[in-house]
């Protein structure tokens, strides 16, 4: 190829975006909704990947921030009649604040201890969400209507599925670009060094605890944003958003797709959700196939799908 890897990726990205943008003109409402969900989960997976794939912190508790993002939308709308735009911003900020709190304690631990403490915090959140029904509606949840999003010159009517889709597409794309910038920035290099060898990173002068907290907060914000978008599209939020199976999905999509890359989580989300969707028609237990796929994946392609593709690419370029 004559083009550099960098400009080639930009072209691919633009092509993909154009295709995605025109989907509502060709596809039915069902597919638009399906794609909207894929985008939201991809964002969630990306937030997990920032934490795990790039900074080396395995958190099984990101559902906490996802759920908080959901509540950041529903509670202000229902209780305070807040505007949609405000709530969207809150769905980033409020989870970030909680991430600061949770992260402050959690980053004092590493390895499996970190995993466990994030699980515990998420469990606490889940329990509070289930029991504080007056505020959260418990696991029955709370439904609401959404007023149009005011963006100055024009409005986005979120009751319209296509508009919703475009909003989600726009936000997820911006988040993706943000992450691309972040991981290639000097800050991203620090995160990666922590993942690679935290001791060495500290020895060369990086306050690794502070950077881990920073990564945790950013990831929390993005997890929150995906939860907020989920809530906006469903016009509903519930304590189920805080359940650990949500965390599990994020982990799953990322690991299957390939950690430490930004394309991995997206690819993993697409593949698994497509798989789940198509198999509901055939089998009662779609999860069965997911389970088997996971095991096969791990034994045959531990680097995830992206790793698999890359190694195939390497083999081909050797022959070329």
């Amino acid at each position: 190829m004559l083009l550099k890897a960098g400009s080639r990726s930009i072209l691919v990205l633009i092509a993909v975006l154009i295709v995605l943008a025109i989907v509502p003109f060709f596809a039915g409402l069902f597919y638009q909704t399906f794609l909207t969900e894929i985008l939201i989960w991809a964002l969630f997976a990306l937030s997990f990947d920032l934490l795990f794939g790039y900074t080396g912190m395995l958190s099984f508790g990101q559902a906490l921030f996802f759920g908080l993002g959901g509540y950041a939308i529903s509670i202000p709308i229902i209780r305070l009649g807040a505007g949609t735009g405000t709530c969207l911003i809150l769905s980033i900020l409020i989870p970030m604040l909680f991430a600061w709190f949770v992260g402050y304690f959690s980053v004092k631990l590493s390895g499996i201890h970190f995993v466990i403490i994030t699980i515990i915090f998420a469990l606490i959140g889940n329990t509070l969400g289930d029991t504080w029904t007056s505020l959260t509606g418990g696991d029955d949840g709370m439904a609401f209507t959404v007023s149009p999003l005011n963006l100055g010159i024009f409005q986005i009517d979120l009751m319209n599925i296509s508009s919703s889709y475009w909003l989600v597409l726009g936000i997820v794309t911006l988040s993706y670009l943000f992450l691309v910038r972040l991981v290639e920035s000097p800050l991203g290099k620090i995160f990666i060094s922590i993942r690679e060898n935290e001791e060495r990173a500290e020895l060369i002068g990086y306050n690794t605890r502070r950077y881990k907290l920073l990564s945790f907060i950013i990831a929390g914000g993005l997890s929150g944003l995906s939860g907020g978008l989920y809530s906006l599209t469903l016009k509903y939020s519930s304590a189920d958003f805080l359940h650990w199976s949500i965390s599990g999905h994020g982990v799953l999509y990322t690991i299957v797709g390939g950690t430490g890359t930004l394309s991995g989580p997206i690819l993993g989300t697409v593949i698994i959700r497509l798989l789940e969707h198509h198999l509901t028609e055939f089998l009662k237990g779609t999860d069965l196939v997911v389970g088997i796929v996971l095991v096969a994946m791990v034994l045959l392609a531990p680097q995830g799908l992206v790793g698999l593709i890359k190694s195939v690419g390497r083999k081909e370029s050797k022959h070329a």
Binding site: R181, L182, E184, S185, P186, L187, G188, K189, I190, I192, S193, E196, N197, E199, R200, A201, E202, L203, I204, G205, Y206, N207, T208
Partner: protein, 249 residues
Amino acid sequence: MHNGSGTILETKSVVKSFGGLMAVSNASLVVEKGAMRALIGPNGAGKTTLLNLITGQLPVTSGQIFFKGEDITKLGPDVISKKGIARTLQITSIFSGLTVYENIWTAVQSRKRFFNPFVHASKLQDVKEKVEYMLELTGLHDKAHAVSSELSYGDQRLLEIGIALSTEPELLLLDEPTAGLSTDESVILVRKIREMIAGKTIILVEHDMGVVMDLAERITVLYNGVILTEGTPQEIKDNEKVRKVYLGT
């Protein structure tokens, strides 16, 4: 020879105990700026522990450590690194999944006080130049884009020294740099070390007596956590106590 321009590192009666075990007891050490000091002693003498205490990787049980006159006893490794102490470890500690270039880059970048997190890392010209310089200095520039885990062990050791030097230290602690290398590789590494460390103060922990006698200006002998004696290479060679400690029982 070094300029006798004062003490750069001083430990005052430093003690490190693990439960009942005294890994280091009453270590009082003074190192002059620009010196090349070797720290020797049989296995378990406490040499690596002492280094860990200096870098802040282990907390001191009692005693104090001064660097350029400042008390660094209670500081963490990252702060101490910023003050100008760097080290290599007994078991090579590099960013194995990253390329040589990325390894050096990460180390050089650590010296930047402020950077814009939204800028592509490669836009940092000053870092880029320093990385090129370090790659030349270590002689690894033609392997710059190799993944560091694929380097030979000797090259990985070299890379680690390069990483340490990239943080612009005034004091460099080398923990058994030639361990695990063949004699030939050792010779090459030692030669490279000589080239790279001009003007810096070095504390070298080593088992290879040839390397020690070759490089050191002054030797401190550690045994069972205690500083047994200190002196020039000749004095240490002739010292009865030292002989016993290495050859006895």
